[in-house]
Symmetry: D2
């Protein structure tokens, strides 16, 4: 299903392990859901950095030769959605450079809201940009810093960044992790024997059998070297603004993010949704895979049986040849298939995690009805998404968000559901953990924790330019 | 998970459609779960046959060029597990030949138990064999038939076959479907406008929006031509012997096979299993994807909540680079990840559809326990598999079937479960539909509906020779 | 340059070497010029045969894995031009089968003129054909033979073939080589230590450092086994009919075929051509690579300097993207580039080995003139090709042979040369070695040594059918 | 043959043509001999730049999709030898950036001897380097220039470069070509209709049917825009130092470089060599392809017949599987095959263009002798190469240059020739055109026209670092 917000990146770093590149490869494989179009790993052997980047899935992009080449005991890696076409590999991360402070590589999850201002200022000072990524700005700030030590230079650079950033950086002899003071995007710490690991989600720790330690704190810069771990907090304290959409959709259910089990939070969303938006129905059916947790909670709370009435097809190739004779709901049908024996004659509650443009939901509802459902009640386990995200998420502009421009009833009509119910913001935050003030909910409210210095139109124009 | 019986083939045929090749491609895509290693399509334009075969997934093996080349309004297609190495493409189907009765192509799901006898006799008469497949025998019998018409020749050939066969055949001007008199493997009929379709499962009809008509009956030969459909029943009536494992594991849950909804039957297995093998537990967790339906039924009947405590990773590449430092349960872990928040501190009922060697189950149980489960109760939604299948299923020999050589308690100990319970044969058949006598259950009973003319050792020696 | 007759196959066989597959791979690499579109190797380990076939160049189609899989101490291999599209790999050789006499594989260079008759008869007896190749006929004859021993069966089969055939065959314990009684196509014998080798040209022996022994004689069947080498001559003595075009164009200049050095014969053609068709010119320029030997001879005999005025581009990919703005002579220009400093202001003798349709020659002449040549005198080192070949060469039908339908002056005008001269048949034969009666010259004379049982139209219709 | 100096790059640029990308692709194809491992094209549509880079041959690396994406009427392209492994694509050119003066892309043939000094200074000022290429330095100088206009900034940047550089640069609305004041590497100008072209050799003009205008002059900067062509000469006049090795080996024989026909110069080398180093021989045989021109001249001047006694194999794949049983001269044999009928019993003059380490020559001499040559007289059409090149050529360090460390007689013994003769420096320069003082001959003399600021050891250490 492509009608979703898209997480833009997953990051991983490891320090002090003989198989640094190989474990980074596995960690990125576990984070594959956070970015599926390009992947890169940089390693350090204590003297110099090496790198391999490629388009495609982790398991395809790296073979034994590529990993063997990446010698060293420390490494960082990055998966991302890349923009289409020629700029793809150019913008893949880590970005790796040489400068006055030595070689450095960086992987970034997030988005700097003042990137354009910083870039313009740097360009005026004679800097050259080889990518269209906001991340390159940080490297220029680092390179130009007159600070006495690389660590100080790095802190100085990071301090100038505004917006959302979870970062892993690699130098000859250091692994650095940093997180913006609001903590928009997740970043967590683990250990494997003597080695240190930082990564976007705990599922990457699980795959390599590492132990979870704690999250990198918002506003914290961790410098990991042979001398040990140094924690710096160079930012003024700020209100936490964890992206609640990580719990709604982005993160893997077996991960813990922002200290909460994603599965538990997501299931709680479903339970709360059942209370707020009950439906007189025979069966609860999730839109797989993302709707499964919430549907489980919904079914449990509603006392209505959960059934896998839609099955996801996992053999989908990248391109699919469509017949000339049009097949109804073809685009959805090759990815999801309805189970008639579950749906036929039933009043169905269809649980999905979110609804963005509504185009896919409309096709699914039609397909479910064509499979014999007598009623289709759509339940969405988060509030209506009415505002774009400027903190590292790939969202359409406001005009394309159906809930921003249509009333609930209009949306219901458009997707041809018998009823439509969203989880309330209050319900969402109540279910998301003890501290409801720790979340960013700007996509539901339009209230942005970090001021975005331009209006949306200007930003989108910029984005267009950046995409190139 | 590779520790499963494996269906060996899926077949599809269409007659009288302008996009015959393209729809066959889609049909095979829907049947991909029945064979993932080679794929082939033959088409007829009324004058001659064309063919494309390749290794790999349907969506990768056929591009627009390949489909464009396959002109014609009738087509058959085949997906299969191929044997490794050099014989791969050689044994891919359809097998397409020219003979005295003209060109013909055949796709076969099943296994002829008298293939070796027929082959030996044919070889003595001067026939040459280019594949190691039992299917080629049928073509020789057809070619050598002195019957007056190709239709009669075909019937004459098929009559000599013993064992399991669901067949699609294509000649210049005919699509033929045939099913052995026991009806071991499924084969069903659909229509799309004026076109006729035959295929292994109804899910292939659904994808192309075709209408289901009925099953090809056991012992029926259907000859579809411009003159219409002719049904011939050249076999003596025989006891039905539908492969119950289609319901247990092979078929897609959204299909109907042998007239029953797979999802309904599979869910009923779970319900029955809960009655027969209850467990004092906190959560029911399916081994995905194959255990989901039964787990749903189990949870419902047991009144215990169903939770997706194991998540399947869908980015798995064909080869995976393992680190030198051993990671516990690595082989299972890259495919399944445990959700700690569901499993930790819980008494877990783990529902799987079948248990063959036990090796994978053992790893899963360990992994679930490592994720914090306090008890792990394994429930299998079919009886112990104690005998190999000779009717078109890839099974290990008896010595490798753990239930054939170990007591229930020994198996439980091996997989390190707190308890282990199988569905009874009676329970299985009761849940499988109104006519319990219509099923083949030889893998659970060792009672074979069609006498297998050699002992197992000889057969396996033969299989070895056939594999070449 | 594609406007050439095309040799259709190269063959290689080895018996009694620990690295049979690897040496076959190298031998085929040396024979790559005889067929560049598909390649295959069969090996025997004394018990059973293995095979790998693929489309493309030898060096691309076989990697270490493929060779490692081909265990055994005897092997045969084959390179060929395949027909385009779906039938490609299906018709690739060796064809490998199992039959009453055991497993056998065959590689064939040549063409059986009575293949259709034999095939029709076999089909009437119930044989099935999986390829559209005439070679499969031989295997059926072998399989059906009631002879007491495989060797006798093989001889019996080969005796029924008419036309051109140089064959390598491999059974469990034998390597067999056979050549038709006229000896149309080359086949020669070598040794490497204790191992025996048979192959199309001696250049394959040279690459693997093997020693040349002698040619397989026309009409000879060689059976090589652990018991030694047995020579059988089962055919009535026939007039030799070595394909003179092997010396004109097909064979590599460093090979010996039919007992003569190709380079020497080809150079002698050039010398003779200079005598017969002198030109008042400043420079002799070969059309590379095939015209180089003859041009060398021509230049020497004419006392005119030889210069490489046309250079062949060796980076040509399979497909080339042509600009929309037409570039003059683009098709030739990407393959050949004229050297202005050699051509400008010069009277040029352009030496090519043969001229089939004239289309490419016309482009080359224009390009040479555009490069500044004041006169272009085309000299062809063989007589006008006026008849198609039915003995294993890919030739256009008569109507497309420009010399068959146009006078010398018309051809000259068409290719826009200032003069055009062919080598005479007498001159060709005089230069081709001591025994001028030993050659087939049917493409120059229309006199066919083996009666072709149908008229050309029927044959071409057949060919069309065979191509499928 | 790998034992050669290697040209490192070919460049091409076009301004004002509707098919800019496609013609650049063709131009690079014609320049493929100057770099075969990576290729890139940047285009401008007047507003922004686009780029595609890839590893491999031009014809493989660009398909229609890639070209279609490269919209615009101006373009530059680059082919190069890349270093192995991970740094490959990272260092591919054109390098394309955004800076205060706008977007710019650059392709460079040559080597800046003061790159390290410039880089160190830039790094101190805060510049970051994403490649290890000296070319990136130029972009930083451009970006940092405070000059009033981009054109002035560009001139300012280029003025700081020392060493060898032929450059093409592309901005939004300009194509710039520049050549160092010594004119080490070639760069020439052509026109195609109204479009302007700059490229390394005239053969690129020939392929696209463009007209040659003149060379870019040493020290000239050409700025081509919609306003026309502006020529600037910002450098102090310097002694010309055209790389004579372009005539010896690098350039294609059908090109004109430095105003001379490569073929004519190269043939003149051969004639002069025959005068200086005669040999009592039966046949002159070139080492193909590079020795052909000189051999032609040698044969003509010596009155000894030229014969193609070594034939180059053009099907060589990138990797070749060698048998375990060692085959004599295998590495050379798969690339070159000796023609026994030419070599056997003959006194052979073997003409090659240059001799670097001697390892390949040694194998060739042995192979020629094994083919029956009674005497092998090696003649090299340039002087002994005794010094590495620092001006854009990939040469081994001095210690590996056999002529730098061994006497003539020692080299002769090593390569096992009966005699060995080099062309004298005087003879070389006499044959290279009217102005012998216009050439750089540092590889023969060790006299470097541009002072190299470090000693060789330091440079090679640097190169090692640069390669990363």
């Amino acid at each position: 299903m492509t009608d979703k917000f898209r997480e833009e990146c997953g990051i991983f770093g490891i320090f002090g392990h003989a198989e640094a590149a190989n474990l980074t490869y596995l960690g990125l494989y576990a984070l594959q859901h956070r970015g599926q179009e390009s992947v890169g790993i940089s390693t350090s052997d204590g003297h110099r950095l090496r790198q391999h980047k490629a388009m495609g899935y982790v398991a395809d992009a790296f073979d034994e030769d590529a990993l063997k080449h990446l010698v060293g005991t420390s490494a960082i890696g990055h998966v991302r959605y890349s923009t289409a076409g020629e700029s793809g590999l150019r913008n893949a991360q880590p970005i790796q450079i040489d400068c006055a402070h030595g070689e450095i590589a960086v992987g970034h999850n997030g988005n700097l809201v003042n990137a354009e201002e910083l870039r313009n200022a740097l360009v005026q000072q004679g800097s050259i940009f080889q990518t269209t990524s906001d991340t390159e700005v940080l490297l220029h700030l680092y390179a130009r810093s007159k600070a006495a030590t690389p660590d100080e230079a790095l802190v100085e650079a990071i301090q100038q960044a505004q917006g959302a950033f979870s970062l892993v950086l690699l130098t000859r002899d250091r692994l650095i992790a940093a997180r913006d003071p609001h903590g928009f995007r997740p970043l967590t710490i683990g250990r494997l024997g003597d080695a240190y690991i930082v990564c976007s989600e705990t599922c990457a720790l699980d795959l390599i059998d590492a132990t979870w330690v704690r999250d990198v704190e918002p506003g914290e810069v961790l410098i990991i070297s042979a001398a040990g771990v140094k924690s710096i907090k160079p930012f003024a304290r700020a209100q936490r603004a964890h992206c609640v959409f990580e719990h709604v959709y982005f993160a893997r259910p077996d991960s813990y993010v922002f200290g909460q089990s994603v599965n538990e939070v997501r299931t709680a969303f479903g339970r709360q949704l059942a209370k707020e938006q009950p439906a007189d129905a025979d069966v609860v059916v999730p839109v797989p895979d993302s709707g499964v947790c919430a549907a489980t909670g919904y079914a449990f709370a509603a006392g209505v049986p959960l059934q896998m009435g839609l099955i996801r097809n996992h053999y989908v190739g990248r391109t699919f040849i469509e017949p000339q004779q049009s097949i109804r709901h073809f685009g959805v049908r090759v990815k999801l298939n309805p189970v008639k024996s579950i749906l036929a004659g039933k009043r169905v509650v269809l649980v999905d995690d979110s609804l963005v443009r509504g185009t896919t939901s409309r096709k699914i509802v039609k397909m479910v009805r064509a499979a014999g459902a007598t009623e289709v009640h759509v339940r969405i386990s988060c509030p209506p998404t009415v505002s774009p995200c400027f903190y590292g998420v790939d969202t359409p502009q406001r005009a394309e968000l159906i809930a921003a421009t249509h009333s609930l009833e209009e949306v219901r009509k458009y997707i041809e559901a018998d009823s439509l119910g969203y989880l309330s913001l209050d319900g969402l935050l109540a279910a998301a953990g003890p501290d409801r003030s720790s979340y960013c909910t700007s996509c539901y409210t339009g209230e942005y924790p970090v001021a975005f210095p331009r209006n949306e139109a200007a930003y989108l124009q910029l984005a267009l330019k950046l995409v190139k």
